[in-house]
Symmetry: C2
Subunit: 207 residues, 2 copies
């Protein structure tokens, strides 16, 4: 186990398959857990506070915003959703990795507030393939799909803000590559700050 874990933030074009990738890697990795969001929406049947979400009041959420307790937040259909820093930091300090699937704007918010986060962008091998996947789903009309393609265009201008790019051509290969990126991230000096401090202390003997 690593001395410290990492926060992995996964974004990607709508239709790139990031949800499937995240689900698969979490099921394969005992040391990797999904980030738990804070929200003001009501719990649904079977949802457990502190497991599915941290369910809070609007006042408590706004307090969390002003206290800087959130790595990012957004509103959706009249409710707040956000990523509490505390849960992420607790897991990471125990040597566990946390994965957060989130859209680009949230990912960039996270990076400014938590620069150690590793940002990964998932793309299909071409725009044509993206359109094909969105069309194949069969759940959306042409106009909605074109809106998603336009959104993809906007996002494509900011991919250089990400640490890593994953081309999702083959699911298994893509998940394997993601394992490799997480493994590499454990080699960031920040993940071994305890060891580095110890070596630095030991070397002081030679000053």
């Amino acid at each position: 186990m690593a001395e410290k874990g990492v926060l992995i933030v996964v974004s990607g074009f709508s239709g790139a398959g990031k949800g499937t990738i995240v689900k698969k890697i979490v099921s394969e990795s005992p040391e990797l857990s999904l980030s738990i969001s804070m929200t003001t929406r009501e719990p649904r049947e079977g949802e457990v506070d502190g497991k599915s979400y941290f369910f809070v009041s609007k006042e408590r959420f706004e307090e969390a915003i002003s206290n800087g307790e959130l790595l990012e937040f957004a509103t959706f259909v009249g409710n707040y959703y956000g990523t509490p820093r505390k849960y992420v930091e607790e897991m990471i300090s125990q040597g566990k990795d946390v994965i957060l699937e989130i859209e680009m704007q949230g990912a960039i918010q996270v990076k400014t507030r938590f620069p150690e986060a590793i940002l990964i962008f998932v793309t299909p091998p071409s725009a044509h393939e993206l359109k094909r996947r969105l069309t194949e789903r069969g759940t959306e009309d042409e106009a909605t799909i074109n809106k998603r393609m336009y959104r993809a265009y906007e996002e494509s201008e900011f991919i250089d803000r990400y640490d890593y790019l994953l081309v999702n051509d083959d699911l298994d290969k893509c998940v394997e590559e993601l394992h490799g990126l997480i493994e590499a991230s454990h080699h960031k000096p920040d993940c071994s700050s305890g060891l580095l401090k110890k070596i630095n202390e030991e070397l002081k003997e030679y000053i």
Copy 2:
């Protein structure tokens, strides 16, 4: 093969075993080549210009410095040694990786002039182990070893400038981890700039 290769810069405490690691990984990786230095020293028997080194005059070297042709340079026993940007860029644009073993000051110079470079620092698992390895070599007296330990102390203050840390406890494991770091580096968006530009162009259709 990656669309673009990466420049891997390896530094580490004297005695950390970085030379052995670099030699082993180069012998194992056909897509990875050692950087070729420019120098003003005389060629030795058997050395080939453009292969062992780029042998140049002092005037030519100083011209290279003022033209910004070098990623870093230093003097050693009355001669200049430096890393030409051109060779690195040529290899990288062909999708090949270049590895450069260099001390910390040079590595930090490289990073300022070539921010895409991946800086990797090699350390033994403890200062005690570092001392043991230096002593075991049997080539240096106590005073010289203590000087190296002091130099290690100075360097230990700057390890956070590196992208990745490699703890060299076991050579084979360490080389395998280095392979993983190089593989991960190929996922930097910069290494797929052609693909990203293509996708961006294709998506413009939906504006």
